[in-house]
Symmetry: C2
Subunit: 240 residues, 2 copies
């Protein structure tokens, strides 16, 4: 069985200018791996309509699920919801249930529910809301695109709301062996091992520490017994 696939779109000039380090990609990647959904591609795009619309169209056509991060707040540079609606050619406007959620929230806080905040109730036609227990303003899912906030605590809460609704495959299992030799010494035998286990993914991730070279060899797959077999061969090849 092959797993469902996924892509992510990170929206934000602040990532591309280097001002902010994205952490949502790593969080989503780890959660999807546990769920048995294969994250195949991530795109970081700027806060520009063209860029967001074309990324949504390309990735929603190519993968089972698409997750977006960022651009759904109340300010003028938050254009993700409108872009996702445009990508699917559907109408977008303030929706009653989202409006009421937000209205009640700002009433409780004693804050004005002004035009900017009302923008966060703009939801494309046909979308379902994604719960936001942190700051109320909902995300939404339209077709196979899950639209979530960029603030990490909110993004993570939305991911937690969404993941139980996905049908995953077998979770990706992995084992790692740290080998304190340069990749150049281990590449030959490793390549032969990879050829003998075509059902597994065998990756080599080099490091340099205190002037010494080494590599972490990670064997990934869905069948734990096969991973055990490959690890046992790997341990025989590089003892100690």
């Amino acid at each position: 069985m092959t797993n469902p696939t996924a892509a992510m779109i990170v929206i934000g000039d602040e990532i591309l200018s280097g001002r902010t380090r994205d952490s949502n990609m790593n969080h989503l990647a780890r959660e999807l791996t546990k769920t048995g959904v294969d994250l195949k591609e991530v795109r970081v795009v700027s806060d520009e309509r063209e860029a967001i619309v074309s990324a949504v169209q390309a990735l929603s056509a190519a993968y089972t699920h698409v997750f977006t991060s960022g651009g759904i707040g109340p300010t003028h540079d938050d254009i993700t919801a409108d872009c996702v609606a445009a990508a699917f050619g559907v109408h977008i406007d303030i929706r009653e249930d989202a409006y009421q959620l937000l209205h009640a929230h700002y009433d409780r806080r004693g804050s004005e529910f002004n035009a900017a905040r009302q923008r966060m109730a703009r939801i494309p036609d046909g979308a379902a809301l994604i719960d936001n227990p942190v700051s109320i303003a909902p995300g939404f899912v339209l077709e196979n695109v899950y639209v979530m906030a960029g603030v990490p605590s909110v993004f993570e809460a939305m991911v937690a709301s969404v993941l139980p609704t996905l049908t995953g495959g077998a979770p990706l299992l992995s084992q790692t062996l740290r080998i304190e030799r340069g990749e150049g010494e281990i590449a030959g035998p490793l390549s032969a091992l990879a050829a003998d286990f075509p059902d597994l993914s065998i990756g080599s991730y080099p490091y340099q520490q205190d002037g010494a070279y080494g590599a972490n060899i990670v064997i990934r797959g869905q069948d734990g017994a096969r991973i055990d077999a490959a690890m046992s061969r790997l341990n025989d090849l590089f003892p100690g």
Copy 2:
């Protein structure tokens, strides 16, 4: 004057599985911003030939420069050089100057210069080498694509080799104001400010700290005097 544009391709299943956090994107983003090159898009793709080839073709056609990170070591999963050659339809083989560099390096270290290490001398026809002062195995530039290592210390050294060769535009300047109010309260005036300064990019990046909402407003542009003017208006709008 508009700045040259750039895209980045991060190659590696270890990022997509969440096992490793990428740090090269943030490093490159900061360095390009200082140089006056606008990073417009980043794609993280898996160690699969199709994925790498099509990302190289799409992005090299769309942007002034493309930078890649990862997949140029000696192991079987290092396929970037071959994929970049394929993307441009050029031949790739072991090249004499790269071979000699590596040969001398392993001789000095007293290590065998075996077939796996010799693979790192595979350079597409027509490429120029990128210096690697850290671990010798060179990167290369073919057409407008700069192919660099994924290990952060090596990636950063290669970026330092490459950046002085680029013709940048005016460096992107920025100023930030931290406003301790929810985005919903500041969005209206902020939108009016953005409309009055169409030559600047005004971004709002919300945060939540100890239960309080706030936002960092970042004003970016190439003209320092214009940024000063917009910041002064912003300070008047949200004093203290």
